[in-house]
């Protein structure tokens, strides 16, 4: 029976395993190099790129306006007040950092597990990490009230004879997030050096030759360098793995060290990390699907990548579901009046809609991914990735806002209604993220060419007279 999915008719399916291939068959070292480098080295920037770039740029303008007004007036323009002193700023900080985590997971953890399919998507997943961390980093600083004094957080010998206080999770955050940002940039850049060498050698324009010549630090592909490079990559992957787990754990400690009902729980670190990876993979798909379509990269970012990302989302989504149920169970099992009320208020209080919307987006709808037909459907996956991103935003919203609006004493209860500056700043960071991403796909190789070459069957050194295996995996 020769259906559309059978290996006979579909060249993207591996005849042996029946799985989708990681790279379409028939590629050579030269063809993968050209496919990736022509996106960067072309002198004809596509009109679509200009359109998106301008649009994102104007949203960055909105961010500038919001931040400038914040500097002039102070954080009173946001809806933060007592009891909700952590409004959208912290919701968005946690959300953005979480999105970044999938980039590190793909580049580091999947490298250690020798998951070859990660090779086509790791570069832009890492770029996504960096831009997401940049967006995230803005919020706690803007939320300081006097952002220009943000450097007080760092230990430095000041004339005030003042030093930071290291027993607070907020202080640990400074080190976790700054380390995360630095290591992500280093890992990303180091991985890019050989590809920048390729671009330097292939660039036609004087500016291109100079620019890529400068940032490729004179890479010449010596095997001695390659051996050290591989060691350094593995070491960085081994370092980034515990780092990424620690970053969202430390962020969750900002909440769970506090005594507030709904925050003071031990499930937070693992559940925050799983949620981070969940939303990050959703963002990878949100970005990868349009890019692969627009730049015709279906040969390199295949259905296999999309399906695997969906499987990771399904798995992490279930961990997150376990986290939610554990919260509900613990609030009952604790026999604490306040915990019990907190959960009731979360579900049926004035902001109950957000809890049920969260359950729908994060737990109910993603179960559709169990169906292989839907997992390998690009349009469906794209919509699902948007739903999950919304769901993860709602999760942060529920955790931060509903817990804060209902304190221990009814006299200190309050409500929260975000202002237009809250929305403007959030929209602005989305624009900033997209703006950086547009620059990245235009000027830097978004798919690692050297790693793709390594995955081609002709890359293997073989003893003479050994036959060449089937291309593709």
């Amino acid at each position: 029976m020769a259906t559309k999915d059978s290996p006979v008719n579909n060249p993207m399916l591996d005849p042996v395993t029946g799985e989708y291939r990681v790279i379409a068959p028939g590629h050579t070292f030269k063809s993968v190099t050209e496919t990736v480098s022509r996106i960067v080295l072309t002198s004809h920037t596509p009109l679509g790129w200009w359109f998106g770039f301008m649009l994102a740029g104007s949203v960055v303008g909105l961010l500038m306006i919001c931040v400038s007004w914040l500097f002039v007036k102070g954080i009173g323009i946001w809806a933060v007040t007592v009891p909700v002193a952590w409004g959208f700023a912290i919701v968005e900080f946690v959300w953005w950092i979480g999105i970044g985590h999938a980039g590190t997971l793909i580049s580091a953890i999947l490298l250690l597990f020798k998951q070859g399919w990660r090779n086509s998507i790791n570069r832009f997943a890492e770029a996504m990490t960096i831009f997401a961390v940049m967006c995230a980093g803005m919020f706690p600083v803007l939320h300081l009230g006097r952002p220009w004094l943000g450097y007080w957080l760092f230990p430095y010998p000041s004339t005030m004879n003042y030093w930071p206080q290291f027993r607070s999770p907020l202080m640990w955050d400074v080190f976790a997030v700054s380390t995360y940002a630095t290591i992500s940039v280093i890992f990303w850049y180091l991985g890019m050096i050989p590809d920048l060498g390729t671009l330097r050698d292939r660039a036609q324009s004087k500016f291109g030759q100079f620019f890529y010549g400068l940032i490729s630090v004179g890479w010449r592909g010596s095997v001695r360098h390659w051996v050290r490079y591989e060691t350094a990559s593995l070491l960085l992957a081994g370092l980034a793995t515990p780092l990424v787990l620690s970053v969202h754990s430390v962020i969750s400690l900002d909440f769970s060290v506090a005594l507030l009902p709904g925050w003071h729980t031990t499930i937070f670190p693992p559940y925050f990390v799983a949620g981070a990876i969940y939303s990050g993979f959703a963002m990878v798909l949100t970005l990868a699907i349009p890019i692969r379509k627009f730049y015709h990269l279906e040969d390199l970012i295949t259905i296999r990548h999309i399906e695997n990302c969906n499987k990771v989302m399904l798995a992490t989504g279930l961990v997150v579901a376990y986290g939610y149920s554990s919260e509900v169970f613990m609030s009952w099992y604790s026999a604490s009046h306040w915990e019990y009320f907190m959960m009731w208020n979360r579900m049926f209080g004035p902001m109950g809609w957000s809890y049920w919307a969260l359950i729908t987006c994060n737990i109910a709808l993603p179960q559709l991914l169990w169906a292989r037909k839907l997992r390998t459907n690009v349009a469906f996956t794209f919509i699902m990735s948007l739903i999950i991103n919304t769901g993860m935003y709602l999760e942060r919203f529920v955790i931060v806002i509903t817990s804060l609006t209902r304190d221990y004493l009814p006299s200190s209860w309050g409500t929260y209604r975000a202002t237009r500056w809250d929305y403007g700043t959030f929209l602005g960071t989305l624009g900033f993220f997209t703006f950086c991403f547009f620059l990245f796909i235009r000027f830097l190789p978004m798919i690692p060419m050297s790693e793709l070459r390594l995955m081609l069957p002709q890359a293997k050194v073989r003893e003479k007279r050994e036959p060449l295996p089937e291309a593709g995996d």
Binding site: W172, F175, G221, S222, Y229, T231, A232, V250, S450, V461
Partner: protein, 180 residues
């Protein structure tokens, strides 16, 4: 120091990694030591073939990580116990469990930076100019799809005519002279 002049080495170009590794093995067997292979992606067998077995990146990384841990932990202890002691809800000045986390982060930070910059330093990078770039066919292939073996003239065994006939016996696409 005057710039070196004359012949840097002889460069043979190959079409496949298999040919390169076979040529590199025979060159090593023939007694050449100062040579290098240039490939568009990591070919570990080629590094083995020219006798490059271990690198020091891991050691640099370990030292960096330990220094980072010691630096942060000492800083925290000094600040919290001597420089600026604060009573936070009656916790001891030396609250070691709380100090573990920034120490952990700095271990990773310093180890990662040492791995990256240590690797570049061990490779002698950044080095925008290198004689191999003078080979006319090098930049066309070395970072795309061709494999190169360069026998360097500083090798005591190196003698131009003999090295050329040795390389040509390995069936390369071409053998070219590389000038400084």
């Amino acid at each position: 120091m005057p710039l070196p002049e004359g012949l840097y080495g002889l460069m043979a170009e190959f079409d496949s990694p298999t040919d390169l590794v076979h040529a590199a093995r025979s060159a090593y067997r023939a007694g050449y030591r100062r040579m290098d292979c240039y490939t568009p992606y990591p070919v570990e067998e080629a590094a083995e073939a020219i006798g490059f077995h271990r690198d020091e990146v891991s050691l640099v990384c370990l030292i960096g990580g330990l220094l980072g841990l010691v630096a942060m932990y000492t800083l925290e202890t000094w600040i919290s116990v001597w420089a600026f002691p604060l009573n936070i809800a009656g916790r001891p000045y030396y609250s070691w469990p709380a100090f573990v986390i920034p120490g952990y982060e700095w271990t990773i930070l310093w180890a990662g930076m040492s791995a990256c910059f240590g690797m570049l330093a061990l490779c002698g990078l950044p080095k925008p100019y290198h004689p191999v770039f003078n080979a006319p066919n090098f930049r066309n292939g070395a970072t795309t799809d061709k494999f190169f073996l360069c026998l360097e003239s500083t090798d005591p065994k190196f003698e131009a005519a003999e090295a050329r006939s040795f390389l040509e016996a390995q069936k390369p696409i071409s053998v070219v002279e590389v000038e400084y």
